[in-house]
Symmetry: C2
Subunit: 348 residues, 2 copies
DNA sequence: CTGAAAGCGCTTACAG
DNA sequence: CTGAAAGCGCTTACAG
């Protein structure tokens, strides 16, 4: 396989590697290569199915045309969909992506960054978990193109692409109010993660705006079973709640465990909204309203910013870092149908 | 970034690049480098955070240590989980994976194979859709390591890793019989795909073994809506069916659309088994029994075979190609509880 | 309009 | 026990 090199093409076409290189890189016009030579070379390239060796090219140019993509777990739907879209965009621009899963292992994250660096990646796209700020800062100092997404780290001065979390929960809360619910609880986890704080803030601001009462459950997340218990107790102790907004999909999942128990009515009697959309929400009865993150737009923005930085290096241009927030959409389902309508239905 | 090269290490340590190369590649002992030189070099390597440039290494050795992974859509759960496990295995052995999604586009598949080849991948891991046999045969002829999975193509003489589809549906059918169901339908698609034929065969053999009557619906798949309609008509026309085995997850998904309609009882009155497990099946009421593919084992086998071929090239050893079938597991849920027990429950 | 040659950062046969 | 040097397949400044 892959026997034929640029030398072969030069020899067979009776030209030099220089000329062949110009032709295959589309610099023929610019370098004033004659039409006849161009077409001769192109013909031979096609005939011999010559494909430039990108390792050699990368070594010579100092550009691998590879971008590293580092996340918790590449098989999580959110990440694998982002990955897919980014890979598509990247391919269009001659880049390839190499992936890395961190798991819950800082050591592993460090290894992956090292591997990326050995592989001479031209840039990094990272959803950085807490506690890895140091590893990343030194990379950042070295001016390698980096784009972060999903998690916001205020102390890192770099490009971020995020869902507008505060607006998402604000919209969701307003939707509940609009439909007649006025005792709206917010279930989240105890955390310093900025995106979770933003979600909380969106809820609080909206509750305040409408002059309603806050009702927040912050769970110290351990495992699903414990979480289910905590949610259940909370709902039992707060019977007057008529709507619940879950701040993350695994919280919704935990709550939905109650559907399988005799306490099902704790949920079915209330309006429910989940952060992140998944199949189950549509199927369950009543189907559950959800906040859907703009995955394709996020992926698009990530790669666009990356491309900018990649090109900026060429032009040696410095660049402000930007924090881009993209709007989520609210998928309205039966679980949050207007309260009035709901009552009528129940009566009929 | 990445300024320091092997030359720098040689200069600073007062040795030659040869010696440094031996040390960083663990060949120091073998090459009888003195302990003092080894430790001096190792110290400097660590201090300067020297990382070998794998592009240069790859160019020199002719091994990129990259494996290409080509599937329909990298964001499909089955594929993204396989990808994750393979990536893990690969990283342990110094390999990285580059991914490619084919979509439904042959042209794109060809592009991806070309890109992989330009990138000098050392091997290919492919879930090949129909109609791309030719593209792959020429690669195969060139003796590049290739491992196929998920889809079996009898005309291709290469390594395959597959779920044992026939056994999976045979076991599922037997489970239904054991639990007292004796009018078991099989819903599949009209196709020549070997894995679907195997699933059908597993069902037919078991039905025959128990002396029962076959009842097969083959759907010419177009879109979900049409499929739902066909399934519904089939169930309406065959009221005596007491169990249904769905040959693929999208068929189950289509059927489950009926859960949202007044024809729900067409399903809830019957034992149901789905090929492929997904979240929804556990949640729906009654929860639905499923056939779960051994994803981790599949990924493990794929990479093991790949590694064998990768090493075989070194030793110039020829190798028989192997077709490995791995057993699926049946996740038993309420939908297939013993018929007797079910009736009692309904009465109580 | 075209080519000879240096050099990217490695590995490895060869020499001593 | 260690080093000088060739060469992997490209790109590109330089020369003509």
């Amino acid at each position: 396989m892959q026997k034929v090199s640029i030398k072969d093409i030069a020899r067979i076409s009776g030209t030099s590697v220089t000329t062949v290189s110009f032709v295959i890189n589309g610099k023929a016009k610019e370098k004033h290569i004659s039409e006849s030579v161009i077409s001769k070379i192109e013909k031979i390239v096609a005939e011999m199915a010559y494909k430039p060796n990108s390792l050699a090219r990368g070594l010579r140019t100092g550009k691998s045309k590879i971008v590293g993509f580092l996340v918790d777990d590449i098989s999580k739907p959110f990440f694998s969909e982002i990955a897919r879209h980014i890979d598509e965009k990247a391919s269009e621009h001659g880049y390839k992506i190499i992936f890395g899963s961190i798991g819950n292992d800082k050591e592993r994250a460090r290894d992956m960054l090292k591997i990326f660096s050995e592989r001479q990646v031209d840039g990094y796209i990272i959803a950085l978990p807490e506690g890895l700020e140091n590893e990343v800062s030194s990379l950042l100092d070295s001016k390698v193109p980096m784009v972060f997404f999903d998690r916001f780290l205020p102390e890192i001065n770099a490009d971020f692409v995020l869902t507008d979390n505060a607006k998402a929960t604000a919209d969701a809360t307003a939707h509940l109010v609009d439909n007649g619910f006025n005792n709206i609880a917010f279930i989240t986890i105890e955390t310093a993660q900025q995106q979770m704080l933003d979600r909380l803030e969106g809820y609080r601001n909206t509750i305040k705006r409408f002059g309603l009462k806050e009702n927040i459950l912050k769970i110290v997340y351990t495992d699903q079973k414990t979480t289910v218990g905590k949610i259940k107790s909370f709902l039992l102790e707060n019977k007057d709640i008529d709507a619940v907004l879950f701040a993350a999909n695994y919280l919704t999942m935990s709550a939905l465990q109650l559907f399988k128990t005799k306490d099902k009515s704790l949920l079915t009697s209330k309006a429910l909204i989940s952060f992140d959309d998944f199949e189950l929400l549509e199927f369950i009865s009543p189907s559950i309203t959800s906040i859907e993150q703009p995955i394709k737009a996020i992926a698009g923005q990530i790669f666009q910013l990356m491309l900018k930085r990649l090109d900026a290096k060429k032009n040696d241009g410095l660049q402000e870092s930007s924090v881009i927030k993209l709007p989520a959409s609210l998928i309205k389902r039966a679980s949050t149908a207007a309260k009035l309508a709901k009552k009528v239905k129940l009566v009929s």
